[in-house]
């Protein structure tokens, strides 16, 4: 259980530009937490469940919050959400869906699977940055995570 392995935020996002913008927003909001980026659903699951390339990790060192995009290659965002919330070891991890889709079907499905929050990525960067900042502030600083 090395401290250097602990991660605060798991960002699951396939679009590299969005990754860069999100990281930039976090920096600007002075949320210089430890962020791990997974580029697709499979990598995200490996990270969370400490399998594959991340077999050396432990679930206790897992992220305090997962920012999850829905449209992902390999394993789809909703499936990742389902796996996280369906497993007793990981279901307490807060998941925030951060996606372009405003479609009601996605929103409803996400909440039914147990998502903690659903945010639509605005095109306008300032609003996007604001959203990310609020997210970070809320989930990392204000919200009381359960002690594992």
């Amino acid at each position: 259980m090395s401290d250097t392995n602990a991660v605060d935020i798991l960002l699951v996002e396939d679009n590299p530009k969005d990754v860069e913008l999100t990281l930039r927003a976090f920096r600007k909001a002075n949320l210089t937490n430890r962020i791990h980026v997974a580029r697709d659903g499979a990598e995200a699951l490996d990270f969370i469940f400490c399998e594959g390339a991340h077999a050396a990790r432990t679930i206790e060192d897992g992220a305090k919050v997962v920012l999850l995009d829905l449209k992902l290659p390999k394993v789809d965002g909703l499936e990742v959400l389902q796996r996280i919330k369906g497993d007793p070891r990981t279901k307490i991890i807060p998941v925030v869906v951060l996606t372009s889709s405003r479609e009601q079907c996605d929103v409803v499905e996400s909440y039914q699977l147990g998502v903690n929050s659903y945010i639509v990525k605005p095109v306008n960067f300032e609003r996007f940055a604001e959203a990310v900042e609020h997210l970070g502030l809320y989930w990392l600083l204000m919200n009381q995570p359960p002690k594992v």
């Binding site: 679009n15 530009k17 969005d18 913008l21 930039r24 449209k71 996606t99 372009s100 889709s101 405003r102 479609e103 990525k121 605005p122 095109v123 306008n124 960067f125 300032e126 996007f128």
Partner: protein, 520 residues
């Protein structure tokens, strides 16, 4: 012969004294007599007048009584004739009777003989006349019957529907020509085989069941089965049939092959449309997601450049980058609006009774950001409840109120009024604004309105207001995608209502809309 009139007798005897005596005698009996002494005269008179009885002497010069009677009977077959014979020859009397005379009298005559003979003869005359009348009536009746039959037959034969009578032995009894026209078989071909022969094997059981129903007194309504056309193809027939419990079925049929085909086509078209709709949904979903992503990149990184290197860039460059951002954001708004617009026609209408005032207040709440830092005077009168889809109507209010706020943004105090007025039913619409001085019709409906004191617009371009992407103001003066009013128009139309606007340049604008079924 008029039964109450006095019988007219024609008396012919070449012996004047006899003739006169007869006339007088018979006149005393109440008859009208005409006496003549020659057969030729008698014929001449007969041609001009009608008589009931001819009393004639047999032996006369020129023409004898038999010839006279024959000729007279030719003129009127119902005439009765009595011959008088003085020379006692029974043979001639018999000959006369064979020639058409009814009776004979022997001369010299006695009153006690003549009177009953004449009376009897006139009785026969009456009977003959009545007979003739009866026969005439029978003929008339028969003619009427024939005409009625003819009319019925014409109807039967010219009917475009197939009409038929079928027997309990399974054969047709009678068919109209429509059968041949529809099925191609000749009348003989249809009559010589049991009708079930023509029915599709899959439909035979059900057809026989329908026949059974009629035997039990039930009528058959809209039963469909397939009959084979002579060319081998199958025609769908729709039957109505009943039985009068006389062992016969009386039926009409229609060829519904075309209708069934059309229905099948319609079902297929509908399912194609549903499939296309689903595809469109999926397409829109994909489009909205995938189009927004690059826009975010454009906006985000332009901002990044401005933030990180702005100081090193000349103001012009900064301005241009700002334009890049605005372009991306505008496109994002457009995508959102277009998606909403396209979804509106597909979304099912959930019609409920709504508290209009509450809907308006909810819309105003959502528009709070637009109202920040501004002087806004809102006037709202009592709004009657309406019937419609809550989420769609909220969109209408949001769009109209947002416009009102937007276009009055340059006023120191924006005055926005929300209310409802009666509007004549066959009144204005976006396609036909109200004519000046429209006469008040008896039927009114409620028109809700939103009025602002903003920049207004030129009524000459009012017809363009509700078109997609149509704008009446410059983008740099008032931003917008030009889809908002098109969305309003689409929603109101789906509710069966009308929407229109009145405005003047720089004098504000009022937008009205009605919903179907909002009657005062």
């Amino acid at each position: 012969m008029n039964v109450t009139a006095r019988p007219r007798l024609l008396i012919v005897d070449d012996e004047v004294a006899q003739m006169t005596a007869l006339c007088n005698t018979l006149e005393d009996q109440g008859y009208v007599t005409t006496g003549l002494t020659s057969a030729n005269q008698a014929l001449a008179v007969l041609r001009g007048q009608e008589f009931d009885l001819v009393l004639t002497d047999l032996m006369m010069p020129e023409m004898d009584g038999i010839a006279l009677l024959r000729a007279a009977l030719e003129m009127d077959a119902n005439l009765v004739g009595i011959v008088m014979t003085g020379h006692g020859s029974i043979d001639t009397a018999v000959e006369a009777m064979q020639g058409g005379a009814l009776d004979y009298i022997q001369k010299p005559f006695k009153l006690s003989v003549i009177v009953p003979v004449v009376a009897r003869a006139l009785g026969v005359r009456r009977l003959r006349i009545e007979n003739a009348e009866l026969e005439r009536r029978v003929r008339e009746h028969a003619a009427e019957l024939a005409a009625a039959n003819q009319e019925r037959d014409k109807f039967f034969d010219t009917s475009l529907d197939m009409l038929c009578i079928a027997k309990s032995d399974g054969y047709f009894k009678r068919l109209n020509p429509s059968f041949t026209e529809t099925l191609g078989w000749s009348m003989e071909e249809l009559l010589e085989r049991p009708f079930i022969d023509f029915v599709h094997s899959d439909d035979r059981d059900s057809t026989l069941r329908e026949v059974e129903k009629q035997n039990l007194g039930e009528a058959v309504l809209n039963f469909e089965n397939r009959y084979q056309h002579k060319d081998g193809s199958w025609r769908w027939l729709s039957w109505r049939s009943g039985s009068l419990r006389d062992g016969l079925m009386y039926a009409t049929a229609r060829d519904v092959t075309q209708q069934r085909q059309t229905q099948a086509d319609l079902l297929e078209r509908t399912s194609q449309l549903e499939a296309a709709n689903k595809e469109l949904e999926a397409f829109s979903y994909s489009v909205s997601h995938d189009l927004r992503s690059p826009l975010r990149t454009i906006d985000g990184f332009s901002k990044a450049v401005l933030e990180d290197y702005g100081a090193q860039l000349p103001p012009e460059a900064q301005r241009h980058l700002q334009f890049v951002r605005e372009g991306a954001q505008q496109m994002g708004a457009l995508i959102d609006d277009l998606l909403t617009f396209s979804r509106l026609s597909r979304q099912p209408l959930d019609r409920r009774t709504l508290d209009t005032a509450r809907l308006v207040n909810q819309s105003l709440d959502e528009l709070r950001p637009q109202q920040q830092g501004r002087q806004i005077e809102l006037r709202m009168v009592e709004l009657p409840p309406c019937r419609g889809d809550p989420s769609l109507l909220k969109q209408v209010w949001i769009n109209l109120l947002s416009n009102a706020l937007k276009y009055s943004s340059k006023r120191e105090t924006a005055i926005i009024e929300v209310g409802a007025v009666p509007a004549p039913v066959s009144g204005a619409s976006v396609d036909a604004p109200p004519a000046a001085g429209t006469a008040a019709s008896t039927n009114h409906e409620i028109a809700y309105f939103v009025r602002d004191n903003g920049v207004g617009f030129d009524m000459r371009y009012a017809h363009k207001l509700f078109g997609v992407f149509q704008r009446l103001h410059r983008a740099e003066d008032y931003d917008g995608t030009g889809v908002g009013l098109a969305i309003v128009h689409r929603i109101i139309h789906r509710h069966g209502g009308r929407v229109w606007a009145e405005a003047a340049v720089d004098r504000g604008a009022t937008f009205y809309f009605t919903l179907e079924g909002t009657n005062t």
